[in-house]
């Protein structure tokens, strides 16, 4: 079949039908929903669970739900979770080992059947984050089989951004509120005098197939124009921006910057930024044994480069200071990620800013490093004694 790509319009019942069709395919549909005062990602049994009528108000170190009169479902910003919670889960069993009476070890690889996910409402920044994790976890010489299976089986429904938050800066990271590729279906929500509806574009054969099974209206010029202008307007309303410089080079050249001391004085090294970051992938392992002593399990769980043990060698941690751990995180994210995986590790989603308990702002830190670097001479030269 040639690449047929359809654009159509779904109304609210069409959205309901979309979830039903996906569930009917045996998929676990995951999407945003309101819980505990936040928009979280959870399994949805119906599109009705989407956060209709909720927006978010975010700032550095601040996140609040605010009701919206228009009843929009996708007018919130990213929440504390990202899709990595499903594709690269927080805790995963790797293998189990049984020791027989003769001392023989039998190792069993943990390969449970992976859920077939449908992610509903993936923001364009998060689409890019998934692509980043694809390169890290499935793109190298040793693909992570569990990740790959979950990823290959996942059906992605993007939701273009029309209400960027104050901590959003995807445009300055080379992304944007619109979705161009990497999705099966992309939705753009439109609420106006003509009603509440979703312009939908298919981006894959699988998307085409699902769309065909869902009652929809043909694309119409008014909806198309409204959708495009809402996304275009969002592009101009980003709350923040990275300094328009080569961040990779900036960070590579800033390893001894004084700014690290400044940010280290504020950073609690709590690791929240790494937990909420949609690309942070680091893990550690745990060995678990049962009471018989003849059964052991190897578990993998998320780890954070802010943890003191993260860099532990037999002599002690390599990165003992908070300064060095913050520097590791930011330098990895914006610079050495290119060396390791061929792209930036930052997609500009703003979660690390929103969920930092002391409001450290990655864009402000980058700008400060830029200001320090462009102030010219390194410290030693500036401090040359006067003659």
């Amino acid at each position: 079949m040639p690449d047929r790509r359809t654009t159509a319009v779904l109304d609210l019942s069409g959205l309901d039908a979309l979830v039903e069709v996906l569930r009917g395919q045996g998929r676990t549909v995951v999407g945003p929903t309101v819980r505990d005062g936040a928009v979280v990602l959870a399994e949805l049994d119906s599109a009705r669970r989407l956060p209709f009528g909720w927006g978010t108000e975010v700032e550095a170190g601040r996140y609040r739900l605010v009701p919206r009169a228009d009843g929009a479902a996708f007018a919130h910003t990213t929440g504390p979770q990202s899709w990595k919670a499903f594709l690269h889960p927080e805790r995963e069993k790797l293998w189990s080992v049984d020791r027989g009476a003769d001392g023989e070890l039998s190792v069993t690889e943990e390969r449970p059947p992976q859920p077939s996910y449908a992610f509903l409402g993936v923001r364009p920044c998060d689409l890019r984050a998934i692509a980043v994790q694809d390169r890290v976890l499935a793109g190298g010489r040793y693909p992570d089989s569990g990740y790959r299976e979950r990823r290959v089986g996942a059906f992605l429904i993007a939701a273009e951004c029309t209400e960027p938050g104050a901590t959003c800066f995807c445009v300055s990271m080379g992304g944007g509120p619109g979705a161009d590729a990497g999705f099966d279906l992309a939705l753009t929500e439109v609420v106006d005098a003509d009603g509440h509806r979703f312009r939908v574009r298919s981006g894959s054969d699988a998307g085409e197939e699902v769309l065909a099974a869902v009652p929809h209206h043909p694309d119409d010029p008014a909806t198309g124009t409204a959708a495009r202008s809402a996304v275009d307007a969002a592009r101009e309303r980003m709350g923040r921006a990275m300094p328009p410089v080569d961040l990779r080079a900036l960070l590579a050249g800033s390893l001894e910057a004084e700014r690290w001391d400044d940010v280290a004085a504020r950073c609690l090294t709590c690791g929240n930024c790494t937990m909420v970051c949609p690309t942070c992938f680091c893990t550690t392992t745990e060995e678990v044994t049962d009471l018989t002593g003849d059964h052991a399990e190897r578990w993998q769980r998320w780890d954070s480069c802010f943890d003191l043990d993260f860099s532990l060698l037999h002599g002690g941690p390599v990165r003992a200071s908070g300064r060095s751990r913050y520097r590791q995180w930011l330098t990895h994210k914006l610079s050495t990620w290119y060396d390791q995986f061929g792209s930036s590790g930052c997609v500009g989603c703003g979660r690390c800013i929103t969920w930092c308990p002391v409001g450290i702002d990655i864009t402000e830190e980058a700008a400060a490093l830029q200001a320090e670097t462009s102030a010219g001479l390194p410290h030693d030269d500036r401090e040359e004694p006067r003659r």
């Binding site: 037999h314 002599g315 002690g316 003992a320």
Partner: protein
């Protein structure tokens, strides 16, 4: 093959000048070349064999702190007042060496500023190398857990 001191640190001209006043000497293993506290009136450049530098400790065999092999300068106390050896030195194998009279070399250094600077930089370089090596050994890097206590 290279050596830190002698061939690379001194130019051919200065080296030739030193060689002219050198005496070729040979020592059997176990020869004491000098003792701590004595007058440092000579020095050597090892051509073959090894020399151990040691410090006398009461009730024990002399503690060897470093050994010097081919191409190495043995002794630098002759260069700095009060010209007294800080360590003892003993050959640990048959040693062939060039031996130099310290007073003569110091006099040459005074008479010829260029030669003097070259020798100063050579001896200074040797002392710096030994200091660097000693500092690294001070770390006791090969001990369990590397350099020092766990934090």
């Amino acid at each position: 093959m290279t050596s830190t001191a002698w061939d690379s640190a001194l130019g051919a001209e200065h080296r030739a000048r030193l060689t002219r006043i050198a005496r070729e000497v040979s020592f059997p293993a176990g020869t004491r070349l000098f003792e701590e506290g004595r007058r440092a009136d000579r020095f050597w450049i090892v051509r073959a064999g090894t020399v151990a530098l040691d410090i006398h400790v009461p009730g024990r065999r002399a503690a060897v702190v470093e050994t010097l092999g081919r191409g190495e300068l043995v002794g630098w106390s002759w260069y700095f007042p009060p010209y007294e050896w800080h360590l003892g030195a003993e050959t640990t194998s048959t040693v062939q060496a060039y031996e130099f009279d310290a007073a003569t070399v110091r006099l040459l250094c005074e008479e010829d500023a260029g030669f003097g600077r070259a020798v100063a930089s050579w001896v200074g370089g040797v002392v710096a190398d030994r200091l660097r090596a000693t500092r690294i050994r001070l770390l006791d890097l090969y001990a369990p857990y590397g350099s020092g206590d766990l934090t």
